[in-house]
Symmetry: C2
Subunit: 228 residues, 2 copies
C-alpha cells in the first residue's frame, strides 16, 4: 500500500523542515521505503485540505491519514509492529516525549535564534512575503537574527550538553542503534544543514560523530534534498 | 538476601543526597523493601572502604556491591528481572541516559545555584569544615549563593520547561506509571525538599502534581527522613 508524505518545500526543492525529516526517517527506520514525497508550499496548503488543518507533515497510508510528526511516529509504531521498533516499549515511548519536549522547547528555539535569517533565504521567492509575515508575528523582525552569531551559537552549544554527554556513552540516543528520539534531535540538525548552516554544529566530538553516523544511514538518505 | 544502602547523612538524620534517593526509590520500585539504610558522614567515608572508592551511594546485595546510582539502577534491573521494570527495554535504558545527563548538567546545577547555602545548613556540624572546603573548590564562596534567589529560581524554572510540557501529556515521565527516569528527576526535587527549600518547586501545575504523586508512592516513603 502506497504511503504519501506531504512536506514543506524550500528553494531549489530543498526540504528543511525538522518535523518532516522526523517523519521521513521514521518511515526509513520501519523499513517502509516505498513512499512518495509531495512538496507543499508555505503559502499554499491546499494539497492537505483533506486533513482539515494546515500543519505539515501529513502522512497518508492507504485510506488513513495522520498529521503531527509525533502522532505519525506513534501511528507507524502501532501499524507496523513487525518493523524495527521506534520506541522499544511503551515506557520508551513515554520517555521519548520528554526528549520531544526538550527538542521543541530548548534545541529548536536555540537554533532558530541563530538561523532565522538563513531560513528566510531558503524559502521560495513566491513564499517569502507569507513567510516573513508569519514568522515576524512570533519572532519580530527577522533581520535582527543576523547579529550576535558567536554568542548565540555558544549559548546553544551549552544547552546541548545533555546530548553531548549521552553520546559519549553510546553511539545513539537509542543505544547501539538509533531510536525515534535520534531522528527527533537529528531533524533539528538537518534543519541547520539544509538552510546552509551546518557550521553551527560542533566540528568534532560526540555530537558530530553521531550526526555523521545518521547522515550515512539508509544509503545516505538524509544527505540530499530529493531530486525533483 | 539482605540489601544494604550506604547513604550520605545530614543534620538530624536528614538524607538529602539526590543520588541516594534515586537508589532508594529504584529499590522500592523493584519491590525490594527489605533493605538497610546505613548513614555515612561527609567527612568520614570509612564505612565504604571495602568499595575502594569514596562515592556514595553504594549498594551491597549479598556478596556483591555496586556504586554509582546509574550503575545501581542497571544492576537492579538486570538482577531482578521479575520485579517491575525500571527502563521498559534496552532502548528505554539508553534513552534514560539522556534524562540522566539532563539532570546532571541542567536540573541539578540549576538547583545547586539556588540552594547551596541552604545545603550547608543541612550538613552536620562535625562535617561542615570538610563540606565547605570541598564545595568551595568547585563553587567558590558558599555565602555568595544566598543572593539573587528570585532570578535564579526563574531561570531554573525556564530550564525545567521540557519536564513541565511532558507532564502535561502524561502523569509520569515513564507514562501512566513511574520509570527510573521519574526517580532520577524527582531525586533532585527531594534534595530541595530535605534542605528546607521545597518552596523552589512551582506551587501548582504539572510538575507539582507529579511531585505530589511521587511523594505519595510506597506509602509516602519519600516524605520523611528515616527514623534513627
Amino acid at each position: 500500500m502506497m504511503i504519501t508524505v506531504y512536506e514543506l518545500d524550500g528553494i531549489d526543492s530543498v526540504r528543511f523542515s525538522p518535523f518532516c525529516w522526523r517523519t521521513l526517517l521514521a518511515l526509513k527506520h520501519k523499513g517502509l521505503h516505498d513512499f512518495e514525497r509531495v512538496p507543499v508550499s508555505f503559502r499554499d496548503r491546499s494539497p492537505i485540505t483533506f486533513s482539515g488543518q494546515e500543519r505539515i507533515p501529513v502522512l497518508i497510508d492507504g485510506d488513513h491519514w495522520v498529521n503531527d510528526s509525533w502522532h505519525i511516529a506513534c501511528y507507524l509504531e502501532d501499524a507496523y509492529p513487525d518493523g524495527p521498533t521506534l520506541f522499544g516499549s511503551d515506557m520508551g515511548r513515554s520517555q521519548a516525549l520528554f526528549i520531544n519536549a526538550w527538542t521543541q522547547r530548548i534545541q529548536n528555539p536555540g537554533l532558530i535564534s541563530i538561523i532565522l535569517w538563513d531560513t528566510f533565504q531558503a524559502v521560495n521567492q513566491a513564499d517569502r512575503d507569507w513567510w516573513r509575515e508569519d514568522r515576524e508575528k512570533k519572532f519580530g523582525r527577522i533581520e535582527e537574527y543576523k547579529s550576535n552569531q558567536a554568542e548565540k551559537i555558544a549559548a546553544w552549544h551549552q544547552e546541548l550538553e545533555p546530548l553531548r554527554v549521552t553520546l559519549r556513552s553510546q553511539p545513539f540516543l537509542g543505544g547501539q542503534t538509533p531510536a525515534y528520539v535520534d531522528y527527533l534531535v537529528f531533524g533539528t540538525f538537518l534543519f541547520a544543514r539544509f538552510v546552509g548552516r551546518e557550521d553551527v554544529i560542533e566540528a568534532d566530538g560526540s555530537v558530530r560523530d553521531w550526526y555523521n553516523l545518521l547522515l550515512d544511514m539508509f544509503d545516505g538518505f538524509a544527505r540530499q534534498a530529493p531530486t525533483a
